[in-house]
């Protein structure tokens, strides 16, 4: 691949997501997983990063209900999910009412789409 064709990690992540795969990086120097995608490992500083498919399992590390008037879309959930691989990410737990989401709840990743963009949400496992 020529230098001009090489994608950065952000674009690579998005491409995989659009193909239906939720991938995260693994720092091969430390064995630690990395999210969000980086050019160099925040743990070792090297580019010894490989892509691995996330198993999709996680648990709710913290959660809140963003209160919003019904006419503006109503209340919605906002959570920080700790992936089974270790990293945390911001997301939303869907398929249940926001007040049913609790810290420690086991959740499973799903790729949601909004027009052209894809992003990871979670459902109770």
């Amino acid at each position: 691949m020529s230098e001009t064709e090489r994608l950065g990690p952000d674009a690579e992540f998005e491409e995989r997501l659009k193909e239906g795969r939720f991938c995260i990086q693994r720092c091969e120097d430390t064995g630690r997983h990395v999210f969000y995608p980086r050019r160099f490992s925040p743990y070792s500083g090297s580019d010894n990063l490989t892509w691995v498919e996330a198993c999709g399992n996680g648990k709710v590390y913290s959660t809140t209900i963003i209160r919003q008037k019904p006419e503006r879309g109503g209340d919605y959930n906002l959570s920080i999910i700790e992936l089974a691989e270790g990293p945390k990410l911001m997301s939303r737990v869907e398929s249940v009412r926001p007040e049913e989401v609790a810290i420690g709840m086991a959740v499973k990743a799903r790729i949601a789409r909004d027009g052209d963009t894809a992003f990871v949400v979670f459902d109770p496992a």
Binding site: D10, F35, Y36, Y61, S62, T63, T64, I65, I66, R67, Y76, L78, S79, I80, K88, L89, M90, S91, R92, I103, G104, D114, T117, F119
Partner: protein
């Protein structure tokens, strides 16, 4: 380390338009507060050769402000650590004054956000990996921290409400404070929920207001009109930008900034007479009391209970009423320094903490992202 201790001092403090200042621009408010601060020190705008300022509306805050005030500064610092910027500027100013890069440092901030738009103004960009989930900025981040703190340590909404109640009780003794009405724990607890577990009464105010302080090198400070308030120690610590990058939502980099600031000053939490913490939300006060070493991790809720930080409690915290009841014009950091200065000078009227010699100002920036601790003291504390 340690040679910055006592190198510089605050010699002037001023405020303008605290609360509501309809019909005045943020630059006009900054000018008024700055003039007041300089007059206290017996200085004029012409003496200022160091400018330290951040803004939520100007992309070039130091350029815009210098031009407006008629300054041609040799040193300009506009590092944006959010509301903690102003505590950071005290450290930067102390360094610049000690090195002789400037002789009179003006640290200032102002906003007319309440009159202009009625809401919290921000230029903050949404982090790429958070934006899709619509995290209401900045409150959602603090709500996530509070929820985790409650989960891990059993902290309660009543304890969060105690923080708001204590702030109001201090504000009632501060004629400058915006919100001085009577309130009760029940009233705070029954307020409208914004981001669980935080209600509207767990949030800082949206006000107008400007604040300024003037610093000079210690040797010059002794000749000024007011008793100098010395820089004893300070440190900044940045751990992340976005809340989802926090390793632990219940521990902030205040732990690190506090330790380094105390080390520079040769002091410990038990030496501090008055504490000014950036209370953007009630959880902040609890987190920072823990991280700065006033109590153990997880014990902040118990520490503030039963009026622990209210007037007459075991530690005077946020004696002006804080961001929760005094003012919060978008960035609050400079007001921590102003209140500490007034307390250490013995000018705080009804809310004066008797015999206060040492104050800790702790600024918070971003969403628990950057923390800056500054210890200030009277001549007796040197």
């Amino acid at each position: 380390m340690g040679n910055l201790k006592g190198a510089a001092a605050i010699v002037g403090a001023g405020t303008a338009g605290i609360g509501l200042a309809p019909g005045r621009s943020h630059l006009e408010l900054i000018a008024e507060a700055s003039k007041q601060a300089l007059e206290e020190a017996g200085l004029t705008m012409r003496d200022v050769d160091g400018l330290f300022t951040a803004s939520l509306v100007n992309f070039f805050p130091t350029l815009t402000t210098a031009e407006y005030l008629g300054l041609k500064p040799a040193v300009t610092v506009g590092t944006n650590l959010g509301g903690a910027s102003f505590e950071d500027y005290v450290i930067q100013a102390a360094m610049a004054l000690q090195a002789g890069l400037c002789k009179v440092a003006l640290i200032c901030y102002g906003s007319n956000q309440r009159s202009a738009s009625g809401r919290h103004t921000t230029m903050a960009d949404m982090p790429k990996y958070e934006a899709a989930y619509k995290p209401r900025f900045p409150i959602a981040a603090y709500a996530l921290s509070a929820a985790r703190h409650m989960h891990e340590f059993g902290t309660t909404r009543e304890q969060l409400a105690e923080v708001a109640l204590a702030a109001r009780k201090w504000a009632q003794m501060n004629p400058e404070a915006s919100e001085r009405g009577e309130t009760t724990l029940e009233e705070v607890l029954s307020a409208r929920m914004v981001c669980d577990p935080l209600s509207v009464r767990d949030c800082c105010l949206v006000t107008d207001g400007a604040g300024a302080i003037v610093m000079v090198a210690a040797e010059r400070a002794r000749d000024m009109a007011k008793a100098p308030i010395y820089f004893l120690g300070g440190a900044a610590a940045t751990w992340y930008r976005q809340i989802s990058a926090a390793e632990d939502l219940t521990v902030t980099s205040a732990k690190e900034s506090g330790e380094r600031a105390f080390a520079m000053a040769g002091l410990a939490p038990e030496d501090v007479d008055v504490v000014e913490l950036y209370d953007a939300f009630t959880i902040n006060t609890i987190l920072f009391l823990e991280d700065l070493g006033f109590c153990n991790k997880g014990e902040g809720g118990a520490f503030v209970s039963g009026g622990g930080i209210a007037p007459g409690g075991h530690l005077p915290v946020n004696t002006n009423g804080g961001g929760l009841s005094c003012c919060h014009p978008g960035m609050y950091g400079v007001f921590l320094l102003i209140e500490a200065t007034r307390q250490l000078r013995g000018e705080a009227g009804k809310r004066q903490v008797k015999g206060a010699e040492i104050a800790l100002c702790h600024g918070n920036g971003g969403t628990l992202s950057a923390e800056v601790s500054v210890l200030l003291g009277t001549e007796a504390a040197l």
